[in-house]
């Protein structure tokens, strides 16, 4: 036909809209850019945007619709691991293609998914290493604080195992979960304060979504300073800090594979494009356009998909999957990001940033170069035997 349909599956309403809306716009921006350059194989891309409304079952339903009804060639979407998990069976059954742009807990490797966000070893482990180091403050006690769902649970399970391997005792690890949307962190912050009396403490926050704002506000007002108890977050980026007064938070940390403050020609270009796009489309918040890690991952994803389609000369799922292996892209984070030949994850550099008063991040530590993803964390029992590539035929349709 004359166009290639591309599915965009991000929540535009509900709790996750906060984070996901910009990803939808990032996809649309990239599509506009690609179309302006002549499209893919001479065909224009046609975005099909749907709103799964932060409702996990609706994610599955909308996926069925995108693949079955609209026959999209590829879907860019999901933020939370929950949503990905509910989409996964559909994508596998209908042999679709999903690009997932957010850091996650690993423990998954589907032939039909490309993971352009970080695996635990590309984010969580280095962050903890840093906090343990002298430069990071030499933390001895750990509060693992997260939203109660699969990503924080699994990440913390990995971290606990990792910390143990580094000689941290169980009593020095406090694991705490709050539900999605939790908004009153008085008690938690008081507990952290109390816990920190027992020795140099760091907090690893895997709080996702809305809750971050009240958490950080409480942190700031309760006078828990970064130099006393640093908090490193894995799901807090520039966008999430938009809603927070960052002055009391200076020095708290985040670990990502991209920060807006990174200086590289590709990033300057990226920010410029985004600002221009946001202004042109009058997107909300365009007076202060922000970029963040999942946006970068989205951007890399769609561009690599384009390259792969052109290489495969087809949008056929299996052909594109084959062509994705080893694709490279000049990423805004300043490296040449490569899709692993086998495991469907990107090679990424890891950055640790400290919050600045203006809501941006100072990069205080980074890996010397890109790190290969280990979706099967070695700190989880039995993972050593798992192959580092999707196993064919996990989906039911093909087993029986």
């Amino acid at each position: 036909a004359d166009t290639i349909k591309v599915g965009v599956l991000h929540s535009l309403s509900g709790t996750m809209a906060i984070s996901e809306t910009t990803l939808k716009d990032t996809v649309l921006m990239a599509i506009e850019e690609i179309n302006a350059k002549g499209g893919v194989m001479g065909k224009k891309l046609e975005p099909v945007v749907v709103d799964p409304a932060s409702n996990w079952p609706l994610f599955a339903e909308k996926t069925k619709q995108l693949l079955g009804q609209d026959k999209v060639a590829v879907i860019f979407g999901c933020w939370t691991s929950v949503s990905r998990k509910s989409v996964l069976p559909v994508v596998e059954e209908m042999n679709g293609l999903l690009f997932y742009p957010v850091q996650y807990e690993g423990e998954e490797l589907s032939k039909n998914v490309f993971y352009t966000g970080a695996a635990p070893n590309q984010q969580a482990i280095p962050a903890v290493d840093y906090l343990m180091s002298k430069a990071g403050g030499g933390a001895k006690r750990w509060v693992l604080l997260g939203t109660d769902y699969v990503y924080p649970r699994t990440t913390n399970k990995i971290l606990r195992a990792y910390l143990k391997s580094k000689g941290v005792a169980d009593k020095d690890i406090d694991e705490k979960y709050t539900p999605f949307g939790h908004s009153d962190y008085q008690t938690i912050v008081a507990d952290v304060k109390k816990f920190s009396q027992g020795g140099k403490t760091a907090v690893v926050s895997t709080i996702n979504g809305d809750s971050n704002v009240p958490f950080y506000k409480e942190l700031g007002n309760a006078g828990l300073k970064a130099k006393d108890v640093p908090v490193v977050a894995f799901s807090v980026g520039e966008e999430e800090l938009r809603g927070v007064d960052t002055k009391p938070l200076v020095g708290h940390l985040a670990a990502w594979n991209y920060f807006m403050s990174i200086k590289s020609p590709a990033n300057t270009e990226f920010i410029k494009k985004w600002s221009a796009y946001a202004k042109a489309k009058k997107l909300p918040g365009s007076d202060k356009p922000l970029t963040n890690d999942p946006m970068e991952a989205t951007y890399i994803g769609i561009n690599m998909w384009k390259q792969a389609v052109e290489k495969a000369k087809s949008t056929d799922t299996d052909k594109v999957i084959a062509a994705m292996a080893g694709q490279t892209f000049n990423a805004p984070s300043g490296i040449v990001s490569k899709m692993d030949e086998k495991n469907h994850h990107l090679h990424k550099s890891v950055f640790i940033g400290e919050i600045k008063a203006d809501g941006q991040f100072n990069v205080v530590w980074k890996t010397p170069g890109p790190v290969k993803a280990k979706p099967w964390s070695p700190y989880i029992e039995g993972n050593d035997k798992k192959p580092d590539e999707p196993v064919k035929g996990t989906s039911v349709a093909t087993t029986k």
Binding site: L12, S13, V48, V49, V50, D51, P52, A53, N55, W56, P57, L58, A60, E61, K62, K64, Q65, G68, Q69, S81, V82, K85, S86, L88, P89, V90, E93, E107, E108, T147, D148, Y149, V150, R153, T154, K157, Y177, P179, F180, G382, T394, S395, V396, A397, T399, K400
Partner: protein
Amino acid sequence: MTTNAPMIPAVLLPAKGPLLTRAGWSTFMMALIAVCAVAPMLNLWVPEGSLFHMSTYAVALLGKIMCYAICALAMDLIWGYTGILSLGHGVFFALGGYVMGMYLMRQIGHDGNYKSDLPDFMVFLDWKTLPWHWTFSDSFIATLFLIVLVPGVVAFVFGYFAFRSRIKGVYFSIITQAMTFAAMLLFFRNETGFGGNNGFTDFKRILNIPLATPSMRMTLFVITGLTLLGFFLFAKWLVSSKFGRVLQAIRDAETRVMFSGYNPLGYKLTIWVISAVMCGVAGALYVPQVGIINPGEMSPASSIEIAIWAAVGGRASLIGPIVGAFIVNGAKSWLTVAYPEFWLYFLGALFIGVTLFLPDGVVGLVKKFRKGSEK
């Protein structure tokens, strides 16, 4: 008690009508045929690409909406006819769904991510054995019983205490909301043992037959349709019996009902449990078709939505809530695609419009038209 007057003047008492009118029966039969014959044909035999082909997506969507319609029907019994607004029916739906979901999880066997005996989420929680409440989850027969039993017993216990204490009106509504909210939080906790926020997904088989095949999907679709139609007849029979009229009397003047010698507790409790069980069954049918169940179904908003389906279609009319479920969910499915950024305006306007202009719901409008044309 007889008065002395021997002559009893001829008073025309209204005769008890049939369960459905003739037109009602024929519509019912048409629905039956549509569900059992037409839909399977269009989906399975008409080739894809044909104008008349019914897509898999459509089957899934309609199947889902039929489950919702059962909930709306259940809501109508308790709200429309008995005047008790439950803002917690989502709990019963979810409980039915979870019972079914547990069975489906067990059916995954070793095909999960971790290739373990246990469901995946138990693996990441480091659990080694199945918790007690999973005991019967591997038996399909037990599952069928539990689908009825679990929502039924929960509803019975909750209802018994609430109705016994004469909790009424908004007080009842609000504590049902508290109930569903508490249940949601409980199920959100991973430690509770129901998969936390993720809930259950990635189902593979039912009765060892793969779920993701067109014929299986169609089978579930047909079963759901038959259940809906069956519940409709059952509800119709209930409300046209004296039992149904007592319910309406409770709605209008509960004290009068008591002083007439009826104990409202039994009546309320009966209809409450029936309504809950219907929701539970709907939930159980929903899960294999939609492929996921999570505590979101217990959120207060989900329960409110059930009430909204009933209201949009028209309360106290049985067919109304079914129509309402189709209209609201159909509109939602269509609008989220057609106007992803604006659909909430349309949906919100629909709710406002219905309340302002159609106090008896969409069905009320149809009735009005019909009356108008008869004149």
